[in-house]
């Protein structure tokens, strides 16, 4: 096991407001880390620091050997090894599902159109959407869009996958199809950091559960154990709140 992501006393401020405090966290290759916590506790910010959508403001964050913020000019190299899935999908509206998925391979990996389309077709098949490859995002349901978005992120063959509340914008009956795809991705052994309120995903696919509270990591442990007997009152309250 080797560390792929290492937060060393990391802080993140927006102007005068510090929203992440003294984060120390090491994530090894192959871990499936589930990040939970109340709204505003800093989950998205922590996730976005990993691929430099937010730049850490104190301490040091090492992702795949690149030290942030010292080597922030190399942020593109980090991003080329990290796939991200957003709450609101953010598929490119002017491209078909196939072209959305082929985008990364073509632009980042320099594949030809044909090669990239082969990769994309393969991935669309894996997320169960090979029959929708020529549809535009607006012609797909939320669950289908999110599965395309997962395929798009996987298409560059990243070392790390980040998910920021990937099912929160979906109707309950559409969540399952997305969660199943995520579980399949986790089973492939790719390192994942997942912000979600789906405790079923945490207990089924998670190898580690982090509970964030007020910009700090308040709990860190095995999902099954933490969910069965949450040690702190804050975590108990939170789990009750999300209906677990």
């Amino acid at each position: 096991m080797s560390a792929l992501i290492e937060f060393r006393d990391v802080g993140k401020s927006f102007g005068p407001v510090e929203v992440l405090h003294n984060i120390d966290l090491t994530i090894d290759q192959g871990e499936v880390v589930v990040l939970v916590g109340p709204s505003g506790s800093g989950k998205s910010t922590l996730l976005r620091c990993i691929n430099g959508l937010e730049m850490v403001t104190s301490g040091e964050l090492v992702v795949d050997g690149i030290h942030l913020p010292r080597q922030k000019r190399r942020i593109r190299e980090v991003r080329q090894e990290v796939g991200m899935v957003f709450q609101l999908f953010h598929l490119f509206p002017h491209m078909s599902a196939l072209d959305n998925v082929a985008f990364g391979p073509r632009k980042v990996r320099g594949m030809s159109r044909e090669e990239a389309h082969d990769v994309a077709k393969d991935l669309l098949k894996k997320v169960g959407l090979d029959d929708r490859s020529h549809h535009y995002p607006a012609e797909l349901s939320g669950g289908q869009q999110q599965r395309v978005a997962i395929a798009r992120a996987l298409a560059i063959n990243p070392k790390i996958m980040l998910f920021d509340e990937p099912t929160s914008a979906l109707d309950p009956e559409l969540r399952e199809e997305v969660l199943n795809v995520m579980i399949a991705v986790a089973e492939q052994g790719i390192t994942m950091v997942v912000v979600t309120h789906e405790m079923s995903f945490a207990s089924k696919a998670g190898s580690r559960l982090l509970f964030m509270d007020g910009g700090r990591i308040a709990e860190d442990g095995d999902p099954q154990t933490l969910l069965r007997n949450p040690s702190s009152e804050r975590l108990q309250n939170f789990l009750q709140h999300v209906g677990y």
């Binding site: 991003r79 080329q80 490119f92 002017h94 632009k107 535009y136 995002p137």
Partner: protein
Amino acid sequence: MGFEFKYVVESIPALLQGAKLTWYITIIGIVGGLALGTLAGLMRLAGTSAVGGASYGHFRWLAITSQKVAIGYIELIRGTPIIVQAMFIYFALPMLIEVTTGYKGIRFDALTAAIITIIINAGAYMAEIVRGAVQSVNKGLVEAGMAMGISRLQLITSVIGPIAFKRAIPPLGNQFIISLKDTSLFIVIGVGELTRQGQEIMASNFRALEIWSAVAVCYLIMTTALALILKFMERRIKII
């Protein structure tokens, strides 16, 4: 003395000559203006989150300078009348070049001055249109592109550009029509465009009603043609 159609018919060849020149100035002017406006609009946004976030190192300095140059250009053009801009380019610019560089003999003909004026004038307004359209692109889409580790240029050409362009078409169309009508001002530097042709015919036969009606119809036909071209373009670009 009613409306006598024969004066309209008589004026057609000369008016067509003028309309051709108007169309010529307009097309070169708006194509050039679009290129200049896109450049200035993007410079105006350099280093902002709309085009992929902050730049680091030397690029930060470059981004700030680009922004300032673009703002200066846009404000200068928006703050002065186009007729003054035309006069300046036609009469004053050659003098300015002579005084500052000592180089004599740069003098644009009236047509060149007219085209340059439209390019520079339309470019400033189009820069603001481009800026607005780029800023209107969903920030999440920009981030989705950035998160893949593509370059800023790829981000602009593959993600932001196509989406922003579709949004920009209606206001750009507006500007195209304004620029077409602005060419009538070049009567002051003696370009034989449509309005000037009308004026000259009018001066020889004094048939104001017939001639200015015919001139107006010619402009209407050209603005309608521009609007149709834009409609067509808008429909061709497929963003659902």
